[in-house]
């Protein structure tokens, strides 16, 4: 019972954070709402028995990636977003469309046969995850790390400062 209440509470915090992300006009408030969403997700992971994933979510996502988001917003000195005039057509078709879309998704999810797994049935403690990661799924793990390395190299190449023209004239 308490489990369900906590689960719904964290879920509500997650959704509220996400809606706030869209509703806020200043980007820093949106970024901080996203941090709240990450924290609520970490809570959800804990409630589902995946404590390692929950802790890593906080460390990596909320504690490093979102910090970099906040950095970018601070460095670019992004101001409040300007509100443009709304569009009547968007309101006329958008709101019923949104409601219909969410009802459709909810109906499909509730009536689909995704199967059930009990809380805690799948590996949660770090030892079990380590066994899966480094033993059963070693090749995907190594390939993913090479992929991340390629992304890092690409980012460094794209963000590198171009050579100053003087160096070329001297040679």
């Amino acid at each position: 019972m308490l489990h369900l209440i906590l689960f719904l509470g964290f879920g509500a915090a997650c959704v509220a954070g996400a809606v706030n992300l869209l509703a806020q006009r200043h980007p820093i408030n949106s970024a901080l709402s996203l941090v709240v969403v990450m924290g609520a997700l970490a809570g959800e992971y804990l409630l589902l028995g995946a404590e390692f994933v929950g802790a890593v979510q906080v460390i990596v996502y909320a504690g490093a990636i979102m910090v970099l988001f906040v950095f970018v917003i601070m460095l670019l000195n992004a101001g409040e977003e300007e509100l443009t005039k709304g569009s009547r057509v968007a309101l006329l078709f958008g709101v019923p469309g949104l409601v219909a879309g969410s009802l459709l998704v909810a109906w499909v999810l509730l009536h689909s046969n995704t199967g059930e797994v009990a809380v805690g049935a799948l590996p949660g403690p770090p030892k079990a995850i380590a066994r899966l990661l480094f033993h059963d799924f070693l090749l995907p793990f190594e390939v993913t790390s090479v992929l991340v390395l390629i992304a890092i190299i690409g980012a460094v190449v794209l963000a590198a400062r171009p050579e100053p023209p003087q160096a070329k004239r001297e040679s």
Partner: protein, 350 residues
């Protein structure tokens, strides 16, 4: 024990831990002023109470009565929230730190730890990562160039050294086979080569210990890595525009982080509460806590000693050191430790 007893015991432990931590924060400020004073051949506080021992009390009263001004140009919500974020996350880690073996009071077996989570080390790392927000947001919300630069530099430094910090701890985890702090301490009991205690610092993690120490100094923004808050550089960095209680919160957060780091170093590298235990049962219960406190005190003393002795790094030297020297060294330490444990050249637990 049933739920009500557990809640009451946890509440008592929480209140006790917070009181002790905040007193320790106040008196480590006193210790710093005295020790740095003596290093610089002067007395430090001597007038308020014997040996200046009531100085923290006087400082507290001063902070309460000081004018708490909010400059008009700041972004108010984050300006007020940032010191609270810093302090909350600095005080949270104490919940996971065990200080001794289990004690038995009135038939109840009480662990001397508020939350014995089996991923305790990860939670402490997570809480430390979240503490960066207080610094970054305070720098930005103060709307002043010194604060912004100080805030950005401080948070960049903290994020960079967090990586080396985490990697140095993984060596310990590999040797102990668990992320739970209590298990890591338990794996360091006993002796090897007859008289050397099996603490991780002697038992193979000496390089890891020094990486941890250096990364921790950078993480807590202390000399020699205190460029973000050095007075001659950036006025006062991210807390320039803060006064009175909000400044006091940043101050307390910095010292609370120092104490957390010292506790972690004791638990992970120096065997936690291991030490000679003798005498009647009451003494047997108290002595481990005493040894733990002595070791933490020694760490804080070394922190303050380094502060009084070393010059500070320039920012580019600082970042180069963190990424180009400390990180490869931490990875090499991890690989070497993992190799030694896998080949079972060193007998470890787990």
């Amino acid at each position: 024990m049933n739920v009500t007893t557990f809640i009451i015991v946890s509440l008592v432990k929480t209140v006790l831990a917070l009181v002790i931590l905040l007193t320790a924060v106040a008196y480590s400020v006193w210790l710093e002023r005295k020790v740095v004073g003596h290093i610089q051949n002067r007395w430090g506080p001597t007038r308020v109470g014997p040996f200046g021992l009531l100085q923290p009390l006087a400082d507290g009263v001063k902070f309460i009565f000081k004018e708490d001004l909010t400059p008009p140009h700041v972004y108010k919500p984050l300006y007020i929230a940032a010191p609270m974020i810093s302090l909350v996350f600095a005080l949270t880690s104490i919940a996971l730190i065990p200080v001794g073996n289990d004690v038995t009071i009135a038939g109840l077996r009480i662990p001397l730890q508020i939350a014995d989570v089996n991923i305790g080390l990860l939670v402490i790392l997570g809480v430390t990562s979240l503490g960066v927000y207080g610094v970054a947001l305070s720098g930005w919300s103060s709307n002043s160039k010194y604060s912004l630069l100080g805030g950005l530099r401080a948070s960049a430094q903290m994020v960079s050294y967090e990586i080396a910090l985490g990697l140095s701890l993984v060596g310990v985890v590999v040797m102990a086979g668990s992320l739970s702090l209590r298990d890591i301490v338990d794996s360091q009991t006993g002796f090897f080569w007859i008289f050397i205690p099996k603490w991780n610092v002697f038992h193979g993690q000496i390089v890891g210990f020094f990486i941890y120490l250096i990364a921790a100094y950078a993480e807590t923004n202390r000399v020699p890595f205190d460029l973000p808050e050095a007075e001659t550089e950036l006025v006062a960095g991210y807390h320039t525009e803060y006064s009175s209680m909000k400044f006091a919160m940043f101050f307390m957060a910095e010292y609370a982080n120092m104490i957390t780091v010292a506790c972690l170093a004791t638990l992970l590298f120096f065997g936690g509460w291991a030490g000679p235990v003798f005498g009647p049962p009451l003494l047997r219960a108290i002595l481990p806590v005493l040894w733990f406190a002595v070791k933490v005190f020694l760490f804080i003393f070394v922190y303050i000693w380094v502060r009084g002795t070393l010059p500070r790094f320039r920012y580019d030297q600082l970042m180069a050191f963190g990424w180009r020297i400390l990180l490869p060294l931490a990875i090499a330490n991890l690989v070497f430790t993992a190799l030694v444990v896998a080949m079972q050249w060193l007998v470890v637990s787990g």
